[in-house]
């Protein structure tokens, strides 16, 4: 494990280095508090630190305070090491954000034992962070496809809507539906249906860039948000995404299946001052039109011309024959 030693006194620093190297730590040493802070604030900086109290530039408690004011960074376990020894100073040191306090001259065994306490705390923190990240992932991703779930993709779409309006950036929304998916489930079973959805998710994800979003909108519907996609290129990109599904059969436990998808596409140039729900309604109309045109194709939404769409046939929310 990596550890930072900050001590302006060369003799003390060398003793600490040796004691910690002997205990298997990867040691970085600095001579003042300012350098210590720079190391500890690096994204991949050491997470264990031994800080002398009295140091030039910035003292040990000052380093602790500065480290603790950072947010959204991993925890750093800090031990103040000093020849100061009064109760008031101990309290001051701990209240500055230090986790522990050792008085000079240190005893190597005690020092190592206290650092092991620090390692246990850091391990506990890692486990908590991991558990939190797992929960966050589960709350925002679809368990079958591992794509963003409906709530998460809607949330991202909402943010993207604001961003594109604010920055005048071009964005495209694609709403896709697997053609005749119900037949797959009815004739080959849900296991095959799940395999199909998983493979389609993989293909959609593989066909977009790292900064685009793909989510499972529901059932066999997928929502794709293409960021920074200029209008002239959007139909071509949407077509490439559509073909990523239809261009080769999907391998399942019941054999290969040739499947297709239909897409509705909406370009940000046509968004206007609409809400996310309105946009999804518009793109849903376009998807309906693609289905109506024989499936395995895409249709670009034309919001201003929506009165031409057969409104009576579009209950809210729009439901299509699969």
């Amino acid at each position: 494990m990596r550890i930072l030693i900050a001590d302006d006194e060369a003799l003390s620093r060398r003793m600490l280095e040796k004691a910690l190297e002997r205990a298997g730590y990867e040691v970085t040493s600095v001579e003042n508090g300012k350098q210590a802070l720079e190391h500890l604030c690096k994204p991949d900086g050491p997470r264990l630190a031994l800080l002398d109290w009295v140091m030039p530039e910035l003292d040990g408690p000052g380093v602790c305070r500065a480290v603790r004011t950072r947010s959204e960074q991993t925890y750093v376990y800090m031990v103040l090491l000093t020849s100061k020894g009064s109760k008031a100073e101990t309290v001051l040191g701990l209240e500055s954000g230090a986790d522990d306090y050792l008085t000079k001259p240190f005893n190597a065994e005690e020092l190592r034992a206290r650092l092991r306490v620090g390692e246990r705390i850091l391990l506990l923190e890692d486990r908590l962070v991991e558990a939190r990240e797992n929960m966050r992932f589960r709350a925002t991703h679809d368990p079958l496809t591992s794509l963003l779930n409906r709530g998460a993709i809607m949330d991202l779409l909402g943010r993207e809507l604001h961003r594109s309006q604010r920055e005048q950036k071009s964005t495209a929304i694609l709403l896709g539906d697997v053609d005749h998916f119900k037949k797959v489930n009815d004739t080959l079973g849900h296991v095959v249906g799940d395999e199909v959805l998983g493979e389609i998710a993989n293909r959609l994800l593989a066909s977009v860039r790292s900064y685009d979003f793909v989510g499972r909108y529901g059932g066999e519907e997928f929502l794709v948000v293409l960021n920074g996609c200029d209008p002239p290129y959007a139909p071509g990109r949407a077509e490439a995404i559509r073909k990523s599904v239809s261009n080769r059969p999907i391998q399942t436990v019941k054999g290969p299946l040739a499947l297709t998808m239909s897409f509705g596409v909406l370009l940000s140039a046509d968004w206007g001052p609409r809400t996310v729900e309105d946009l999804l309604h518009e793109v849903d109309i376009a998807l309906y039109q693609a289905k109506d045109a024989g499936r395995d194709c895409l249709r670009i939404a034309k919001p201003d011309a929506k009165t031409e769409a057969p409104q009576a046939a579009l209950p809210q929310p729009v439901r299509r024959a699969h």
């Binding site: 006194e9 003390s12 060398r14 003793m15 040796k18 009295v54 020849s83 190597a108």
Partner: protein, 124 residues
């Protein structure tokens, strides 16, 4: 005077304490003494100048630094003298600094020959 300065049984250099602290690493002791021999004269020289000029801030920081070095090396009596000097400087007792410095110098005068003797022995 602190209790350690008064303790006639306290050696100028507690060699065993230092060796215990460094897991009996002789090479490291030699390295530490070399660092000390380089740093100590410079630091105590600066401290003498600070005390002479009544510079309280530098007297505090330099005596504090010496205290740390001496404690780490097992020079408890000299460290106690440095601690006393630091305490007086913190309290702003300028008039008492000279006397405290003399005690420190005297204790250092007892410690340094022991360290030199050790270094000469390990060089042989």
């Amino acid at each position: 005077m602190t209790s350690r300065e008064n303790d006639v049984h306290e050696p100028a250099w507690n060699q065993a304490e230092l060796f215990e602290r460094v897991d009996n690493d002789r090479e490291l002791v030699r390295e530490l003494l070399t660092i000390f021999k380089g740093d100590f004269p410079r630091t105590i020289g600066s401290l003498a100048a600070a005390v002479s000029s009544g510079d309280v801030n530098n007297s505090v920081s330099l005596s504090h630094a010496l205290k740390g070095m001496l404690l780490n090396l097992g020079g408890a009596r000299a460290a106690a003298a440095a601690a006393r000097l630091e305490e007086l400087a913190r309290a702003g007792e300028i008039a008492a600094l000279r006397g405290a410095y003399d005690v420190l110098e005297r204790e250092a005068g007892r410690l340094l020959p022991e360290l030199d003797a050790y270094m000469a022995e390990v060089r042989r």
